[in-house]
Symmetry: C2
Subunit: 298 residues, 2 copies
């Protein structure tokens, strides 16, 4: 798949996801401020990378992507709530996100906490919308369980916790990997597994796709670390070198830039090997997304 | 059912719930601080009133209570997370809860936010544990949807939001009812509906039980308002008159004490009428719990 084709694919699917998110964000019978605070962050843009992996996984099995749309939107709700809470003064205390004032800067801390709670809760109802596409209830329940697990204490929240506790200390590579694994990779693993479960994957395929997604998730975070050193402030929307200023441990600071680049490449290669072994119908998009992750500049 | 019998019933069932919560709180592969912060609030005691309604509803259909235990525990996770976030400095800024320092006083604000997020997320995995008792996947999915709805922006979080926005202003009775409805009643409605769904209730019974639970939830909150004026500080674990001090609107302050007591009684009477109309096997416990709510002194 060429770069142009991939960009077209991404634009088309991101539009699908964004349109559906706008529908979900227009939640009825809710206090106006709460609805506005939820929509402000949910519709603030962003790469919508995670839902793309749900849809691309369904395509890799030769299945229709529609049931993946609510599931992908649910993941964006989880991702968005985690950013809102992460930006709070008690956490990272960030004033800007994607070039806009953070949620609590606009709506106040209390409302930002509640908007985050509401988005997190809403994600589970949204996942269940996949029922409208004749997905067996058993499969959706499995997805509910996995979303709870990968997004919760054993997953993303655990990663946030370790990240916070590791601030202002020099981490070991093992600790940094734990943080990357849970803070970033777990949600991506969920996306690929959810797409595969919707597609009716076998356990063997689920295991291989988990390896694929896990590697891409780790690669994504290493690329984030690298971009923080080399990136252009306008493109990533936060001050370049901000991690370094707060003496945060990163891949480049722990193992050097060259070794970080090599690790990134190795992770992507192994991801592609796992894809091949899974014996899917058409892995071109999943493969292109893997490459996209390490070639992006923001 | 006599008071002594009810107390025995409550003690026995609260022990069941507490034991299971202790198992769930011992969550593995999680950073120690996060696990401790989650367990600190989840196992801090409390009346466990909500899970009792799940179990009592199953009994009212003559069904075994076991599938209600994970569902009841999930509700306690939701209730507990809402208290942790509600106590935060940006929200109610409370230092004590149930006679113990609040979560953020012990673990810091950032960890309290994450522990709340983790408990909220965990609730959905926990609901799915009802699958172990041969409950159809369709029924559990319906419960997942309802938990998300009653606990989220249209439900409890919406109520919290309205409550916060109404602080330091004199509310109308209608606004106060909205807050009571969503902040308190919605979660109780969920409990009774979830018990009924687990029991395989018909839609007509679900509607009547919803009216029962809604009334009891509103009565519970009016009793809370009344206790805040008349209660004993030791028993309710927070300073008596604290709502009045912060110029918070309450039933007694809006319609007077006598009218508040009358409303309370009317709500309970109507709840009992709905119970009768539902034609259940044995409503003695649900009836006794209704009375218990308005006779409790803390």
């Amino acid at each position: 798949m060429s770069n142009v084709q991939l960009k077209e694919y991404i634009n088309e699917k991101v539009a699908l996801i964004s349109d559906r998110l706008a529908v979900y964000a227009d939640v009825q019978e809710v206090p106006d401020t709460l609805r506005n605070a939820m929509a402000y962050s949910l519709l603030a843009g962003g790469k919508r990378l995670r839902p793309l992996f749900v849809l691309a996984t369904l395509e890799s099995f030769g299945k229709p992507i529609e049931p993946g749309i609510p599931v992908g939107c649910a993941v964006e709700m989880i991702h968005t709530y985690s950013l809102i809470h992460d930006d709070l003064p008690a956490m990272d205390d960030d004033d800007f996100r994607r070039g806009k004032p953070t949620n609590h800067k606009v709506y106040g801390e209390a409302m930002a906490i509640l908007a985050g709670d509401a988005l997190l809760t809403y994600a589970f109802e949204t996942v269940c919308e996949a029922q409208a596409y004749n997905i067996p209830a058993d499969s959706i329940l499995k997805i509910v369980r996995e979303l709870s697990s990968y997004a919760g204490a054993r997953g993303m929240v655990g990663g946030q916790c370790a990240d916070m506790e590791g601030e202002n200390t020099r981490l070991t590579l093992e600790q940094l990997q734990y943080i990357h694994q849970h803070k970033t990779a777990d949600l991506l693993v969920f996306c690929v597994r959810a797409g595969a479960i919707l597609a009716g994957a076998e356990e063997r395929q689920l295991a291989l796709l988990t390896r694929y997604a896990n590697n891409i998730g780790l690669a994504f975070q290493i690329q984030d670390d690298i971009l923080d050193v080399t990136g252009d402030e306008m493109k990533i929307g936060k001050p370049v070198g901000s991690d370094e200023k707060s003496s945060k441990s990163t891949y480049p600071s722990l193992i050097g830039m060259e070794e970080s680049q090599a690790t990134l490449q190795r992770l992507v290669d192994e991801a592609n090997e796992a894809l091949t072994a899974a014996g899917l119908t058409d892995t071109s998009i999943l493969r292109a997304l893997a490459t996209f992750v390490i070639e992006r500049d923001h």
